[in-house]
Amino acid sequence: MTDKEIFEILKEKFGEAIIEFVEAQAGENYIKINPLEIDKVCAFLFSDTNLHFDSLVNLSGVDDANGEKKTEEDGSFEYIGGTLSVFYHLESTDKRHKITLGTTVEKDQPDVVSVTDVWAHANWHEREAFDLLGINFLNHPDLRRILMPYDWDAGHPLRKDYKDPEYYQGMKVPY
């Protein structure tokens, strides 16, 4: 099944929650979905016998770097507003089709519903997206930092406007 056909099926079933079919200039197209409905869409994709996306291949968070850029005198900058995205690459190991889902949230309130209940695989990937980008996954069973220290309080390093703290636990950070 092509991704266009899957988009039609989803659009029919979920209506408003399926925002649009994004055709990229290069690489892959993806289906944009409402971040607060993504778990229902994924549960449907997983359980429907014709689609049967039994495998979440990858889950990645992205900083879209699209807010209003405010540059300080020392060259550091900050984005006011802007969005974060999460991309889901799904695959069906028996039906042999693939699809990419995407969802976009405001940086001010980065709430996405977790899909850990559908694919256990999402657990660590969502923790990673939370750790590095600060995307807040609702209903996640164990949302802690994973790669950074548990007590890292200087923000989320993979955001484009991340700045290193001066000190961490009394140790100087920039070297």
Binding site: A24, Q25, R145, Y162
Partner: protein, 371 residues
Amino acid sequence: MALNTEEMTLNMGPQHPSTHGVLRLELRLDGEFIVDVKSHIGYLHRCFEKHAEAMTYPQVVPYTDRMDYLASMYNEFGYALTVEKLLGLEIPERVEFIRVIMGELQRIASHLVALGTYGADIGAVTPFLFCFRDREKILSLFEMTSGARLLYNYIWVGGVARDLPPDFLRLTKEFVEYFKPKIKELNDLLSFNKIFIDRTANIGILPKDVAVNYGITGPMLRASGMKWDLRKDDTYSVYNKFDFDIPVGDGRMGTVGDSWDRYYVRILEMEQSLRIIEQAVEQIPDGDVSSAIPRRIKPPVGQVYGRVENPRGELGYFIVSDGSVNPKRIKVRGPSFVNLAIFGELCKGHMIADVIAILGSIDIVLGEVDR
């Protein structure tokens, strides 16, 4: 009289000899039995993804080496393939063949480390050194090709760094002939050793459906009885030109998907890799290896997910391009990272010694788990 007993928390790592790097396991024990395992990672986090955002596309290649440092060739292979997919590049056939030969040699080298260290975890030290002896031969082949023994920076976007040295194909053939009996030696010494089987069979059983749900890939998934190999199921490069089988675990010594199956699938995979190398060495065409290397890489706006079958499983690169010379985001789906996530589930109800046996059979490389 009721004895007052309590659970014990044991911290294994991050400097423990058997955690294969800096992994910290928090074991909750009831005597010698495992109640719960929590893995804490991140001790080797080097911000690969953040670094990559400041690099141009070709500059990222040496960084990918340093993720899974036991399978550097394959990391470059996957990265190059993904960027080429984004750019829509056509690659000369000789380059594809060289990449496949390198990739399969790397697979053997990586599996040798996995098998050897697994033997050492179980207590047999000698197979470890035998494996390293053979791995050295592969590293020497890499050294004469790329000049490095561990981190090669050899496979570039659009080609490879330099052509094969004149003797390479002959020496590779010699290596294949040399290595075939060594697999039997390893089988005699370790695989079919009664104690080894007792320690690994029926330990850490991973059923197929659970494996798929956890996103497990590579030898670990195949040991659970699932015939799934990206080289065949989502074929890339020139793998469709070769004749090889996908070994799966058959529960010969216990249950399908136990630690022994995960171990033995790797042995069988080495044999298949030898077959691929033999065919590739025979069929390799002549040609220019650097003709397709782009002078300046500036892909259009878009995103792409490319994946290869790394020795440990599916290595995926998710690249988002904003149309500049720097990637906007590179996300690596490392097989070690994903395969480690299920570790706690596998350990429940087993003993301390089994934790080591299960961890070794997963074959993680912390450089990739933490990136």
